[in-house]
Symmetry: C2
Subunit: 237 residues, 2 copies
DNA sequence: ACAGAAAAGATTGCATACGATTTTTGCGAC
DNA sequence: GTCGCAAAAATCGTATGCAATCTTTTCTGT
C-alpha cells in the first residue's frame, strides 16, 4: 500500500471550490493569529476581500464554524472563536485521548520517506525558532502544529486526520488566548524525541512521549478565568 | 422518496435555523436507512420537499457533507455517502481509539440521573428488538446508536461528543452496506454489561467491554470488496 | 441498426435582490 | 453631560435568476 500518495493532494485547486480556498486562507490567518479571537468576520467584508459574492463567503464561514474556529450567531454574524477555559480543557482532553493512539498507528507505518519528511519539518521548525520577528513567530506556531498533522497523516486514518486538523487549529486559538510563554522552544525538542521513538519503531515510547508533550503544552496555559468570563464576554470585539 | 412527509409536528424550529432542521431530518433518514447509500439528493428536490429555497437546502447538504454522511461532487450534486471498505475500517479504528476513553470519562461522572437515562434508553432498545416490522428495525438501529451518544454526552466533552455523533452516524451507513446480520440483538446485552460496569464505577471494565463491543460490531461486517470496487464505483447511483 | 454528434433538458455554482433583524446614529429631554 | 428613544445604516437570512456544466435525448451518416 502506498504511503506518500496522500501527502499532498495533487488535485488542481484552481478547479476546486472557491469557498474552500477562502476557508483555507481564513483558517491559516486564524491559526497563526493574524486574526485575533473575537474578530468579526462579516460576510460582506470577506466577500469583497476575496472578490466573491456573499454566497460563497458565507459558505466558507459556515465551514469554519463547523471546525469550531468560528462562532456564528444568528442575525449577528461570524466571529473568530473565543474558546472558554472549559473548551480549552476539552480540546486538550481530546488530544490526550487521540494523539497517543495516532502515534502508535504512525509508528507502525513509518517509512524512510516519512522520516525524511519529518526531518524537514523539524528543521523548518527549528529555523523559525531561531529567527526573530512576529512573522517568524507566526510561522513557528504553524510549523509546530504541522508536526502533529504530519504525524496524523502518517497514521493513515483520514477520519482521525480530520479530527486532528480541527484539534490542532483549535489548540492554536487556545494557546493564543491562554498561552503563557512561547511554548514552542521546549516543544521542539519533544518533537525530536518523538520522531526518534517513531524512527526506531518504539510505538509505546512514542505514545508516552506524545502524552507528556500534550501535558506540557497544556501546563503552559493559564486557564484561570481572568477577571470573570462575563467581563471578557462583555468586552469582546 | 418520502422523507419530510412523515412529519414531526413542526416543533419549535421556527426560531431555529431551518437548514439545521433539514439536516437533522435528512441525517435521521440516512442513519436509519430510509435513504440508501448512493441516493442522489438534489438541491431542488430537497428544497421543494421541505418547502425552502435551494439556498437553504444547499446549506443543509453542505453540513451533511462535512459530517461525511453525504458526498458532493462538483457540478454533479450530493449523494448519500457510499463508504468504501477502507473507510469502514477507519471508522471503526477511530471508534476503537476514542470510545474506550469516553467510557472511562463517563464512568467517573455517572450520576443517578444518568443511570435512569441509560435504563430508559436500554428499555427502548429492547422494546424495538422485540417488535417486528421495518419501522421497529429502523428505530432499533437508531436506538443502538443513541446508547453510544448518550455515553458520549455523559463523558462531558462537547468536542468528543461531536466526533462521536459523526462516527456513530457513519457506522450506521457502514453497517447498512456491509452488515451481515442484525448485529443489534447481541449488541443489546453488551450495552447492558457496559452500563453495569459504569454503574459500579468500574471504569477499566467499562472501557474493556466497550472495546470488545466495537470489535464485535466490526466482526459482523463483511468488508471484502464485492466484485471489485471499480465495478461498484462504476455502477453506483 | 448502430455509433457518434448535436441539441434539449436538468442541475449546479454563483451573484444579486429584498425583507427582517440588529446596530449605530441623531436628537431631544432631563 | 447623559439617558432614552426613534430613524438610519449596516448586516443577515432567504428567494430567485442566469450562466456554466452535466445528462439525456434526438438526429444523422455509414
Amino acid at each position: 500500500m502506498n504511503i506518500a500518495d496522500q501527502t499532498f493532494p495533487a488535485v488542481d485547486s484552481a478547479n476546486e471550490d472557491r469557498a474552500q480556498a477562502i476557508r483555507d486562507q481564513l483558517r491559516d490567518a486564524i491559526v497563526d493569529r493574524r486574526l485575533a479571537p473575537g474578530t468579526k468576520l462579516s460576510e460582506g467584508e470577506v466577500g469583497t476581500l476575496f472578490d466573491v459574492s456573499r454566497t460563497v463567503a458565507r459558505a466558507a464561514l459556515q465551514m469554519l464554524s463547523f471546525e469550531g474556529l468560528v462562532r456564528t450567531e444568528r442575525n449577528r454574524g461570524a466571529f473568530v472563536a473565543n474558546p472558554s477555559p472549559e473548551e480549552a480543557r476539552q480540546v486538550f482532553a481530546s488530544r490526550r485521548l487521540i494523539e497517543p493512539g495516532i502515534a502508535i498507528a504512525a509508528a507502525g507505518r513509518m517509512t524512510p520517506a516519512h522520516v525524511v519528511a519529518f526531518k524537514a519539518q523539524l528543521d523548518e521548525e527549528g529555523r523559525f525558532i531561531a529567527e526573530r520577528g512576529p512573522s517568524a513567530r507566526r510561522s513557528e506556531i504553524k510549523a509546530s502544529g504541522d508536526f502533529h498533522l504530519l504525524l496524523a497523516s502518517v497514521a493513515g486514518n483520514v477520519i482521525l486526520q480530520r479530527f486532528m486538523e480541527e484539534l490542532v487549529a483549535r489548540s492554536s486559538l487556545v494557546i493564543a488566548l491562554y498561552g503563557r510563554s512561547g511554548v514552542s522552544s521546549c516543544g521542539h525538542s519533544e518533537h525530536m524525541n518523538i520522531l526518534e521513538a517513531l524512527e526506531s519503531g518504539n510505538a509505546e515510547r512514542a505514545s508516552a512521549l506524545m502524552l507528556h508533550h500534550i501535558d506540557h503544552i497544556e501546563a503552559d496555559l493559564d486557564l484561570r478565568v481572568r477577571s470573570g468570563p462575563a467581563l471578557r464576554q462583555a468586552l469582546e470585539f
